[in-house]
Symmetry: C3
Subunit: 431 residues, 3 copies
């Protein structure tokens, strides 16, 4: 497939979005969605703080104007302007002078990765704090430190999310969900936001989509829960497949985490595409920690939602630290992830159950001029074998994915061959 | 679990019971059951010789007062007082003088294990004989030998077995069956008798048992058949799990032989406990040779009865010889076996199907103060992960054992976490 | 089993049949069937050219009187009399003189196997041609060549096949199908023709056959399709197992290609026999290329038809060349293949579902005198174990094949033991 995805355009958007201070709520999220709106036709929803969503309550809105620590010489030794990760998310406002000992109760670092700033947040318990490298923490002298946290926690605020919808021929829909609540982390999850946005852009070009596509750009956990508490029952009617987009940009092989049910349409489609196109990849059964598949796959919903990633969260040491930055990811790999999702969608869109028009014995293939039109530089004996496979498997019990899996041919070749056989009236789609 | 099982007490009972001449029938069995009665509230049943039990007939009762072989100097070269194994079980009475050649037709030894006396019995075909070491057999000189077998085979006798019952809240019951017909063999099966007796003693202390527990101390094969011919239909109604206790005392790893159906409650529970608590163990599918699971799992009953052992019968060379003696076993290992059965019972007693009170999305765990009460020195992140697993799996299709298996957490931790979640009204037992 | 199959007789028939020029149609096929008729009571059917069979049309009949290439000296450099493989099957008539360049457009060879003549046919597209060794092709000098193909393509001819039927007690039938359209190829498929014929001869001797047996000697593909278009619906009613006989004579281990459904009666029976009797063999799932199982297992029929072979077509380099000749095969191996089919048939004929007359506990085996009659030089403990297995598995859910598979005993021993147990009224056949 000749892809029209422009790597430079992805990088430009990365550079715009990376410095923004995103969190569960706040203006950084609104700014992010406004920029994404240049690519995706978003509907922005504001869910008021205090809204009850199943067992949860939407938290107050948090915004931060400034935050720093000065030493007694008045030098800023920690400054939010240098890295958004310095601030413990949802830090309460604070100004004051502290001894080193007092200050240390509010400082967080990673002894095992002494040159990285960890990403931390405390959304449901009020506190304040700073993250910094362990090297810096250990080098802090006894001193009197001045601290400023100019933040605002507003119970009359709201949580912001964006939604887009591409209408296909069918009401049946496919969900693409990604989370927008992480500040200045490249793989987790600006890569997911960018992949979802540019996947939207590619799908929007297609005039012949069979299924509808719903895109969600939401804060993780509470955002998904807020969405499901309002729209979960609607999704129950039409959702046939869904994906949580995260860690789409590192240089690793693909990882697919199955839906809770396992063997659902997205599971089968992704495994089929990966086996056709990748040499090495990882398939994982569902487990209930992770991202928003936790909510989509909670027992009451149990939706067919999986997650096709590159290296999975938890599995790369840069995870949730300042080392998950632009250097860690590759825009070519983000493009590759988007193309892989497009492959999966191509397969799902074409995934019919096929039946022979006459199921008895083989047709006399020589009559149908199938080879030349399919062949080209390809080895016609491969096509011949594939056609015989398809005709044998098209008994009304196998769909396209089954045929790919059983015949072991590349899914793109199978789709092409099926189209030819339908054209020749040797196959038809089962009602 | 702090166990109250007293190893010395087990050893004391071993020393009392080991020298007794047990067989399919006879006073040795009655004496054995009388001693076990000090630990277990036994009901003793006598089944008259000649009673028809399915295809079988209860054999005449056999008792032995004395048995020896003297050489022509009047020296006792083989004497039942040295080892019960010297007598071929169910030997007919005999007195007489024989040449070496004549005598040898009644002597049994093990050429492959020349210093061991084999255990032999001929219950359904009348004959007499002695077992002795192959070394002794080969050193016997030409001589005239005098033989005495002062035995009694009484068609008006009976077969004796003991039964005990602990009533739980439910009529549903768990069977603990062990066999008492082997003389002076330590692992096979005095270890099983002692394990059953002390398991009874521990269970009897519990006031909150959910299920009822039936203990059988019976002669192997004909004893089980006699019991089933009378009580098999009653067991059909209430038996949810059963175990045959044998070879519980050697120093080997655990072996579990599954019930015939496989994947029954005892199978699932034992596998769950072993995977939580043991590094190395063996799981075997049912096979129809072995001990009384042959009868419990015959097609007409097909009960959920397995056997949790240490080294399985047939798999240790000391099997059915004088080498299966006190040195071969360890009382610490018998205690370990009893504790393993207690673990299995703990799991079965707690094995509910669990459902979320609200199955949509995750609850907001931070609200429930779950960690501190569970945490202690344990890593709270483990507990956190476990709770998320339980809440995701509690969809009404998984029982406790499924949750342990799928989450891969220690079963004791899962039980503890479930209790907490039920307390917090986040989970409930499915009706 | 003491086999009465006569290897010399097989070889004699081989020598008669090998030189005949067989094809999809023609007098060579009639001659072949006439010779087979000496062994098998064949009904010969002629299907007129032009007959419509599902998507296919029976081709015109092709016969060849002579074919050669002469050089300018008048020397025959290629002559059908030296090898039937020299002629491209279905070559149109031709006489003429050609330059080397013109001739080469009609010559076929195998560069990778330069001393072998390939077997080629062009039944549905009209052309003419010769096969020869690549060595000879490359050594042809510039010259004027004279070509004769004295062939006849007759639209008023017919396709010829042979059918035989052995009536058993039941209408249920087993299909033995082999193809007769290959000229002068030993393994593919004169070995199949001979195996089918001598299998017929052996079965015909049996007076107690439970099932009926249908033998087909047909041209591959169009022959099977012609047969199925007329008789396919009848087969649907009674066919319980079928086999395509091909490549039965090389010295390789057995290969079994499963039916499309997998786990059908022939699949289970062959796997059971091979595991009982062979150390090394290959089991393959169905794939839709190959021989006439392509038609029998087309979706509309989906018959339980597999193929027990030695080295499978495609897997030996001699395939479809002059090297697939008498040297390549062994008559002892053909005999072995026939005997293996007889084993499979023995197993299918005996494959009852068995139930205990009394399913409760074990019978008291000592009463039944089972061992001596079964024992002989065999270890009675093996027989004892086997009997216990059978009695435990005979619960009405396992057939003979299940019992063999689960008990892991040799199928012949299991059949023998079951007969004894039925005699003793311990087992009966499930209605």
């Amino acid at each position: 497939m000749l892809s029209l995805i422009n790597v430079d355009e992805i990088e430009n958007y990365f550079d715009k979005l990376f410095p923004i201070l995103r969190s569960v709520t706040g203006n950084g999220n609104r700014e992010t969605l406004n920029i994404i709106n240049e690519i995706v036709d978003l509907n922005i929803t504001e869910v008021p703080s205090g809204t009850q969503c199943f067992d949860w309550t939407v938290p107050p809105e948090w915004n931060l104007k400034d935050a720093w620590i000065k030493n007694s010489k008045g030098e800023k030794i920690v400054d939010i302007k240098n890295s958004n990760l310095h601030i413990l998310g949802y830090s309460t406002p604070f100004t004051g002078k502290l001894t080193l000992k007092e200050l240390k109760e509010h400082l967080y670092s990673l002894p095992d990765m002494p040159d990285a700033i960890p990403f931390l947040i405390s959304c449901y318990k009020r506190r304040w704090g700073f993250s910094l490298t362990h090297n810096q923490l250990q080098s802090l002298p006894e001193d009197t430190y001045e601290v400023l946290i100019d933040s605002d926690i507003n119970s009359n605020g709201s949580l912001t999310y964006g939604e887009a919808f591409i209408k296909g021929k069918s009401e049946k829909e496919i969900l693409i969900s990604t989370y927008i609540c992480h500040p200045s982390l490249a793989n987790d999850n600006l890569s997911g936001i960018l992949s979802a946005a540019f996947l939207y852009k590619e799908l929007k070009k297609r005039s012949d989509l069979r299924y509808s596509y719903r895109f969600l750009f939401i804060p993780e956990t509470i955002g998904a829960i807020a969405y499901l508490s309002k729209h979960g029952n609607e999704l129950k009617e039409n959702l046939i497949a869904g994906f949580v987009l995260t860690t789409c940009g590192d240089r690793g092989n693909f990882t697919y985490k199955r839906s809770r049910k396992g063997n659902t349409l997205p599971d089968r489609a992704v495994e089929c595409v990966l086996s056709s196109t990748e040499k090495e990849y990882t398939l994982e059964d569902f487990f209930p920690t992770g991202s928003d598949e936790r909510q989509y796959c909670s027992p009451g919903f149990n939706f067919p939602v999986g997650s096709l990633m590159r290296t999975r969260y938890y599995n790369f040491p840069e995870y949730h630290t300042s080392k998950d930055n632009k250097d860690f990811i590759s825009f070519e790999h983000i493009k590759g992830t988007i193309e892989k999702y497009l492959d999966v969608i191509t397969l799902i869109e074409a995934n019919d159950i096929l039946v022979r028009t006459n199921p008895y014995c083989e047709p006399q293939l020589g009559k149908y001029d199938l080879y030349t039109s399919l062949g080209g530089q390809r080895d016609t004996s491969i096509i011949n074998g594939l056609i015989i496979y398809i005709l044998n498997l098209a008994d009304g019990s196998n769909d396209l994915i089954d045929i790919v899996k059983k015949s072991k041919y590349d899914f793109r070749l199978v789709i092409e061959a099926i189209r030819k056989l339908v054209d020749k009236n040797l196959l038809k789609v089962k009602d």
